[in-house]
Amino acid sequence: MSLLEVNDLEVYYETEDGPAQAVDGVSFELEEGENLGIVGESGCGKTTLAKAIIGILPDAGYINDGSIGFKGDDLTELSGPERRRLKWEEISMIAQSAMNSLDPVYTIREQIVEAVETHRPGTGRIESDQMVTEMFELVGLDPDRADDYPHQFSGGMRQRAMIAMALVLEPSLMLADEPTTALDVIMQDQILKRINSIQEEINSSMLVITHDVSVVAETCDRVLVMYAGKVAEEGPVEEIFNQPYHPYTIGLKRAFPNIRMTDQDLLSISGYPPELVDPPQGCRFAERCPMATERCREEEPEAHYVNGLRSYCHYTDDIDTELRPYADDARTWNQTAAAQNMGGD
């Protein structure tokens, strides 16, 4: 049994115009000790998905259907107190902005000790202090600074303190939502390295949510590409990067400059993601896909399995036989982009 099994999950937000289908029928599994990267553009539902898993959806958001299986329990059916017990103890979250996630009026030590004492009643002060020291050393912070307040820390130090807090109870699942986006590249590199090595030590799994495909390439075993609330493609990181099948993945991969390459033809995907209140009935990417046909606009694609990948595109089987050179050519995409700009939006 997998550690985490998300099945046909639908998370909607209440809006004036009706429910916005932020996550719409997403399924995936996460094994123990495995890292899964969830990538996509802003508004694709990746953060909503994480919030639904840990149970911190905002008031307007609700789980419409589907299940989140975690160690045999369905998280969507647990009561408030039961979920709270799981939070931090079993599932912890490293948020994008550590500034907003740490309480400014408590010292870092007090915040970590509070988490320990809430979930492990009976832990003595000496023992929990010792845990703080250990965690600080693990994330590369000076334990003498544990009695500082968050504002006395730099951005990078705060992010590390946040990681220390997320790891102190040795959870089996960590959700990292853009864990390093706010940081400079040297700090990002150090923090990712630390997270990975700590993870190996305590054998926890991680969901890395990010728009940065290079972070995923370096830290994850598998990748889930989301587009407009749905899964576009999913599979092992090598396959997704070397030979993706979904046109959106192909486009996204080529939209990123690579520092190791000269003279790349970057590609831009024309148009914008669809409205989620009243999404188009066929493939959600059809409007921006240079290879879309009438069928794509009318019929929602099923999962196609190829080379260990799961791709939601009608033409998955044709990619290898004829479409790949066309899809891999930046001109294909840029021409579509130019044509769309001409027409105006």
């Binding site: 590199d189 070397n242 190791r260 000269t262 590609l267 982009a337």
Partner: protein
């Protein structure tokens, strides 16, 4: 060197006074203490050639944006000068400055903040023309919007920024920068606020800008992968100074300064098959108020070689067997400069000044 230098930046410095609140500054004026300064840009020199794209890179707080803003005269430099068309800007007349401003444009990071929400697209793009009293307004606005691939241009005239997406807004900002037909543009993180799928479109527009108009562009970004894609030359900044400068490919593939090496090594690669050698750098960027003596990178430097790094500021200069300019003592100067000579000089001076220095320290501690 090529002889088509458009802009010559000579030892540019920009310091900001630290805002301590009025009680502290009152106390200070009574006690006569020295105010503190943030040394945002602290002695930067480079040339920008006609038609060239230069990237300014570095971590947040390294002074790259302040440098960029000084280039278009949004900041008055504390010291140093900018020479434009053989004219020193500090000595330029008002008319010459106006001409300079017409030729120096800037594109900002956030198109949600940089466009006036109360103005229509037409007015936003036409405003610079009105300020500089240039005729043929409609035709120029139309051409600028068309260049920015906002088609048909008329359709955008009466729209307001809030009706447009981030990518379209950044295109408006580009049209506004281009409408005066400038010589050079400073683009500060022009795509970092845009979604990945839209970035390439704006980047190719910026590319066309240099190709078709022969514009010089200074790109400011923390994203080295992007700069590699866009720039002919790179300058890497650390704590207000340039530590390495040279052709982009050379710097990315063969970085020499220990900081540049760490920086480039830390950039993640979007390819799971590429392993990356990781160098762990100690500590964090130092204090730009109380600047350390000698090399600013010394406390974190894995190549630290002692006193000379501690005491002598490494100049950015040509080194033996290197294609780029490097500010580091571990490489031998190709210009005959010997940091150890200066170290010896400094020691002598220090001995002479020893009595004065001790007096200073006493008076400072008395103030506290």
């Amino acid at each position: 060197m090529k002889n088509d230098v458009l802009l010559e930046v000579d030892d540019l410095k920009k310091h900001f006074k630290v805002n301590q609140g009025w009680i502290a500054s009152l106390m200070q004026s009574v006690s006569g203490g020295e105010p503190e300064y943030v040394h945002a840009v602290d002695g930067v020199s480079f040339n920008l050639h006609a038609g060239e794209t230069l990237g300014l890179a570095g971590e947040s707080g390294c002074g790259k944006t302040t440098t960029g803003m000084s280039l278009v005269k949004l900041h008055e430099p504390t010291a140093g000068d900018i020479v434009y068309n053989d004219k020193e800007l500090s000595k330029a007349t008002d008319a010459e400055l106006k001409e300079f401003r017409q030729n120096a444009q800037m594109i900002f990071q956030d198109p949600f903040e940089s466009l006036n929400p109360r103005m229509t697209v037409y007015d936003i793009v036409a405003e610079p023309l009105r300020i500089h009293d240039i005729r043929n307004e409609t035709a120029r606005v139309q051409r600028a919007l068309e260049f920015a691939e906002l088609l048909p241009a008329e359709q955008y005239f009466d729209q307001y920024p809030h009706e447009l997406s981030g990518g379209q807004r950044q295109r408006i900002a580009i049209a506004r920068a281009l409408v005066l037909d400038p010589d050079f543009i400073v683009a500060d993180e022009p795509v970092s606020m845009l979604d990945v799928s839209l970035r390439a479109g704006v980047l190719s527009l910026l590319d066309r800008m240099t190709d078709e108009f022969g514009l010089s562009v200074v790109y400011i970004s923390h994203d080295l992968s992007l700069l590699r894609h866009m720039c002919d030359r790179l300058a890497i900044m650390y704590m207000g100074k340039i530590v390495e400068k040279g052709p982009t490919d050379q710097i990315i593939e063969n970085p020499q300064h220990p900081y540049t090496q760490a920086l480039i090594n830390a950039v993640p690669v979007p390819d799971p098959d590429v392993g990356r050698e990781r160098v762990e750098l100690q500590g964090e960027v130092g204090d730009v108020i109380d600047i350390p003596t000698g090399c600013r990178f010394k406390a974190r430097c894995p190549e630290y070689i002692g006193d000379v790094c501690d005491k002598v500021v490494p100049p950015l200069e040509q080194k033996v067997n290197a294609e780029q300019d490097i500010a580091c003592h571990i490489y031998e100067s190709a210009e005959g400069y010997d940091p150890y000579e200066q170290l010896a000089d400094e020691r002598q001076e220090r001995n002479v000044d020893a009595s004065d220095t001790s007096d200073d320290t006493e008076s400072v501690s008395a103030d506290d």
